[in-house]
């Protein structure tokens, strides 16, 4: 349990998807004009990451990893399919996003219409594929850890995008130098937020 909390805190604050690895930057910059839409996108990302990371964990450990096919028969123990992982992961993500979209449309039309175009766009959000790839690289030992990591990364993204959206709403009233307006100042603010988030470094529960 302690371990899970540790992974959660790490993935939200220390290894924050946006500030430490710059993942999901495209949608982070494009959709952060108002707090409301950015929270909607953030929630969708949390949702998709929490589903895709454990699914990809299972695929990686029982199909692709070196020796992963040993549960089928002894003779498969030497097979290493990990070079297929990019294609498999992106296929899982694309189909999961499609599935999530259909489920939400059926059971909660209100949420569906408020998420709108963001839902399909999540398939090409770097944070989602990045979550799966980091999951492989960090070698989580069981599916619980992988799920918590996925959820935590999503929460980190939500935190970041809601924060920048709030700042951008305020900064419209300030006198920013003209060439820096819009994109430039957003970059610099994100950098400053990243520096602030670095103060969490070294926290361990």
């Amino acid at each position: 349990m302690e371990n899970l909390i540790n992974i959660f805190v790490r993935s939200v604050f220390i290894d924050n998807m946006v500030f430490a690895y710059f993942l999901g930057m495209c949608s982070y910059l494009a959709v952060s004009k108002t707090v409301k839409t950015s929270v909607g996108l953030g929630l969708a990302v949390v949702f998709v990451l929490t589903i895709t990371v454990p699914v990809n964990y299972l695929i990686h450990n029982y199909l692709l990893k070196e020796g992963a096919l040993a549960w089928l028969s002894e003779s498969f123990a030497g097979i290493n399919l990990s070079f297929l992982s990019f294609i498999m992961f992106i296929a899982v993500i694309a189909s999961m996003v499609q599935l999530v979209e259909m489920v939400i449309e059926k059971f909660s039309p209100a949420l569906y219409s408020s998420l709108g175009i963001f839902l399909p766009l999540i398939a090409v959000n770097c944070a989602i594929l990045g979550g799966s790839l980091f999951m492989v690289e960090r070698e989580y030992i069981n599916i619980g850890e992988a799920t918590v990591f996925g959820f935590g990364s999503g929460v980190g993204f939500l935190l970041a995008i809601a924060g920048i959206a709030a700042i951008r709403e305020k900064i419209q009233y300030s006198n920013v130098p003209a060439p820096l307006r819009g994109l430039g100042i957003t970059f610099i603010i994100t950098g400053l937020m990243g520096i602030a988030f670095m103060s969490f470094m070294g926290i361990k529960l």
């Binding site: 999901g24 930057m25 990019f86 294609i87 770097c126 594929l129 819009g182 994109l183 400053l192 520096i195």
Partner: protein, 218 residues
């Protein structure tokens, strides 16, 4: 496209414009805001930035050509999946080549080679350009956009490595110049991730104050 009979020369002014425009006035990173994700994380040193730039040039120009060749046979409903498969195939190839010939750099780039798949520049160009244009023009467009992405990457990588560790391509420039004896110290801050964002912010600032048309109207 018009149905004029005579063939256009390969390097007509229109094609050269496709190549040149993304380098400056329509740069994918500083103007179109695409592909930021991977651009920032790999630029702490110059070498991974250069490798990343080359990988994106290869992936984007080749997948632009493939998509453009097949654009008439693919039904529009499945085009996203089709584009993703083409990109993923190219990225797997690049990844395997890097692992075979430049293992050190491929370790440094870690997950970011895989993340070329979700690099918005590539999806964006396939969707916006290659699906509607002929192979050669798509190739030029891919080359131009990837190069526009690449030079920003290399500039950021150069400054971060030069100011952060006092080296260029690992060669200790600052030490050779002997500035350490004068009391100069490396700015370790430049290596940290947030400085990549601020460096790009400054590039945008410089570019927009030179080219006033790009300034946000809002």
């Amino acid at each position: 496209m018009s149905n004029k009979k005579e063939r256009e020369p390969l390097f007509s002014s229109k094609n050269l414009k496709l190549l040149r425009e993304p380098l400056g006035a329509n740069n994918p990173i500083t103007v179109q805001v695409l592909g930021i994700c991977s651009a920032l994380a790999v630029t702490a040193k110059l070498k991974p930035s250069v490798v990343m730039a080359i990988s994106v040039v290869v992936v984007l120009s080749v997948s632009n050509v493939i998509v453009s060749l097949l654009r008439k046979t693919v039904p529009p409903r499945i085009r996203i999946i089709f584009q993703l498969v083409v990109i993923a195939m190219m990225v797997v190839l690049v990844d395997q080549v890097l692992k075979a010939f430049a293992f050190e750099v491929s370790k440094q780039l870690s997950v970011f080679v895989g993340l070329i798949i979700t690099n918005c520049i590539i999806m964006g160009r396939l969707e916006a350009f290659a699906m509607a244009n002929k192979p050669w023009e798509s190739f030029m467009d891919g080359l131009g956009n990837a190069a526009g992405y690449g030079w920003i990457l290399i500039v950021v990588g150069f400054f971060r490595e030069f100011l952060g560790s006092g080296t260029i391509f690992g060669y200790p420039v600052m030490e050779t110049l002997g500035v350490y004896e004068l009391g100069y110290e490396d700015n370790g801050f430049m290596i940290l991730p947030p400085m990549a964002l601020i460096t790009v912010g400054i590039i945008i600032w410089v570019q927009r104050s030179r080219n006033r048309d790009l300034i946000d109207k809002s």
